[in-house]
């Protein structure tokens, strides 16, 4: 399992040669990864003061309630994705802009933590001489989620940085909202296009970071 050739990073399904076991493992890993990502955001928001009585709709730990279509499609194309963004009322924060960044980034960091936990289990299994292919994929998916979180495109955590720095210059309008809503789909579409033309735009940036972290965590 330490063999790096076993797992391609970022982990993606090979659609021309789909294996039942890896497909199931990938889907289960995605469900766990988006749940942890979304719940961590909800957790952070609550902690920082946005404790709404109707918090149940974001604090339920039901994986299927966290699914976002574009985010799911992105998993199929690029190996990472995002959950449905938990609703956060920034008005309840002492420092709305800054706290929103903390809330959004709680997601990716929770993924890093989950990757570490899965890596630990992998390590213990290794100690006991158990070979496994499930936990390496769980580790891989969560590390990609962590790294991809820094991409500054709206559903991902990195976008909160942009809105923070350009808060004053960007005026909220209907057009802007429309663009923001379409952006995730455009992003996925561009990734599909890149994949069809065999361009590896993201991987060029991902690989140098993802691989060392993966190797460190999975021992």
């Amino acid at each position: 399992m330490e063999d790096p050739t076993l797992i391609n990073l970022p982990f993606m399904l090979d659609f021309s040669n789909l294996q039942f076991d890896t497909t199931v493992i990938f889907i289960v890993s995605i469900l766990l990864a988006i749940t942890v990502n979304a719940e961590a955001q909800a957790f952070m928001a609550t902690l920082l003061g946005d404790a709404r009585s109707e918090a149940r709709d974001r604090f339920h730990f039901n994986p299927f309630g966290h699914i976002n279509l574009a985010g799911l499609a992105c998993f199929a194309v690029a190996g990472f994705g995002w959950p449905k963004q938990p609703v956060v009322h920034t008005k309840n924060f002492k420092h709305p802009g800054f706290y929103l960044i903390l809330v959004r980034f709680a997601g990716p960091f929770a993924n890093l933590m989950l990757a570490s936990i899965a890596g630990s289990i992998l390590w213990i299994m290794g100690n006991w001489g158990v070979e496994d292919q499930v936990f390496p994929i769980l580790v891989a998916v969560n590390i990609i989620m962590f790294i991809a979180g820094f991409i500054p495109i709206p559903p991902l955590a990195g976008a909160s940085l942009i809105s923070f720095f350009f808060q004053k210059t960007i005026m909220p309008s209907i057009h802007l909202n429309r663009i923001l809503r379409a952006l995730p789909y455009l992003f996925v579409a561009s990734l599909v296009l890149a994949k069809l033309t065999h361009g590896n735009i993201l991987n060029v940036y991902f690989s140098p970071v993802v691989e060392p972290i993966f190797n460190f965590i999975s021992g």
Partner: protein, 429 residues
């Protein structure tokens, strides 16, 4: 129904406890996976058809055989907290029956499909989902019937079922595989589980609204636990520092147990295997951990009611800390008796933590939302695994685990101090 004081818990309370024990005895099949694994794996013949009683099955590689197990663990983790919510909102009966039937269906599917795919769907997905949903149901339901002075024992009994499952399923599963083949063993166990959970599920009832457990306040339990406890909502729970203290205490009991088990268990096995007695009675080695683990859950729960939750936690952690400090010496002597003692203590306190923490949660935050609240505290259990991995990093850097043992022991001492400082949260909402 108006609240009224009663002297004794009604019979239903004990019926619920033992129904919960029975359900967990079924759900604990996870711990016995190695029995099927050894029947399925043959590295040399992987991919070839089996013959004889297991005709239709194909030999698997080690990595393949681990997949249903690992998937089961992850599904368990994914569905445990929603399972707690089902328990709180709908009913424990529904949660346990639904979980148990999912597991039963999973076993039967795995048996009838006779394939790797079937094992993934049946054991991994359906089985894991069933365990997650089912595991969350019995403990809170049983705890709600009892006052703080009995909570420890009750939690121990119910979760003890899960640990105890390793003992009988390992033996029974092996017998069934020998007699009826892999398919037969899954189908028979699945049908058996279905019958047990449907019957036991009917007996699993949470107390009616307004029920007050008998107040036999004799100064037992955690300090202040006998006074009336507010039923906290999860959102408020997270705002108390005691929540983080409980999570941290959970991390500590888990990490130290895992660290010892993962480093000494293998050594105990290899040392013992050379002896004729253990070669003839290999089952002792296999079931030793499970047995002590199960007894640790009941035992710790029992004395936590007598000497107080806090003292029980401190006792377990203190003894474990001593164990950790002496572990480098024990490992160097390779003395089988000492290894047995050390591994035993680790299993005992690991199991003990699993029965102490739900009772702590109930003492602190009330019984009403216990399922969900305990689910949140259970995150500490997951984080405990992370600490075990740090041991691995230390081993890579220093060449031995000794430093990790000392750090872990020191952390346990810190845990004892933290536990001493942790007081029951006051609700001012």
């Amino acid at each position: 129904m108006s609240p009224q004081a009663i002297d004794k818990v009604p019979a239903q309370a004990w019926i619920t406890t033992f129904a919960g024990f029975a359900i967990n005895l079924c759900l604990g099949i996870l711990y016995a996976w190695s029995i099927w694994k050894s029947a399925l794996v043959n590295v040399d013949k992987a991919g070839e058809m089996m013959t004889g009683i297991n005709e239709g099955w194909i030999y698997l590689t080690n990595a393949q055989a681990a997949t249903p197990f690992s998937l089961c663990v992850i599904m368990f983790a994914v569905l445990m907290i929603p399972g707690g919510r089902i328990q709180d909102r709908i009913s424990p009966k529904f949660g346990a029956t639904c979980g148990g039937l999912l597991l039963a269906a999973g076993c039967i599917v795995a048996g009838l499909m006779k394939s790797y795919t079937g094992l993934i769907i049946g054991f991994g997905l359906l089985g894991g989902a069933g365990m997650g949903i089912g595991y969350a149901a019995p403990t809170p339901a049983a705890l709600k019937w009892f006052g703080p002075e009995k909570r420890g024992l009750i939690a121990g009994l119910v979760v003890g079922g899960y640990g105890g499952a390793a003992l009988y399923i390992g033996w029974l599963g092996q017998k069934l595989i020998d007699l009826y083949g892999i398919t037969g063993s899954f189908v028979i166990l699945g049908s058996f589980f279905a019958v047990v959970v449907v019957i036991a599920g009917q007996m699993l009832k949470a107390p009616p609204e307004g029920y007050l457990p008998p107040a036999t306040a004799i100064g037992a339990g955690h300090s202040g636990a006998t006074e009336k406890t507010h039923n906290w909502e999860a959102v408020d729970v997270m705002k108390t520092w005691q929540f983080y203290a409980l999570v941290f205490m959970f991390i500590l009991t888990t990490q130290s147990g895992l660290l010892i088990i993962s480093s000494a268990n293998g050594l105990m096995m290899t040392t013992a295997k050379g002896m004729p007695f253990f070669m003839a009675n290999a089952w002792i080695l296999v079931s030793y951990g499970g047995l002590v683990n199960a007894f640790g859950r009941v035992g710790t729960g029992y004395y936590s009611d007598k000497i107080g939750r806090l003292n029980a936690y401190c006792l377990n952690c203190g003894v474990s800390a001593l164990c950790l400090f002496s572990l480098p010496f024990v490992i160097s002597t390779q003395n089988l008796f000492l290894l047995f003692v050390v591994v035993g203590i680790a299993y005992w306190q690991y199991g003990g933590g699993l029965s102490l923490m739900p009772s702590f949660t109930a003492d602190f935050y009330g019984a009403k939302n216990l399922g969900f609240n305990y689910g949140l505290i259970f995150i500490g259990w997951g984080l405990g695994f992370f600490m075990a991995r740090i041991g691995g990093v230390i081993q890579d850097i220093t060449g031995s685990l000794n430093l990790a043992f000392y750090i872990s022991g020191a952390l346990l001492v810190a845990g004892v101090i933290l536990a001493k400082l942790t007081t029951k949260p006051q609700y001012n909402g």
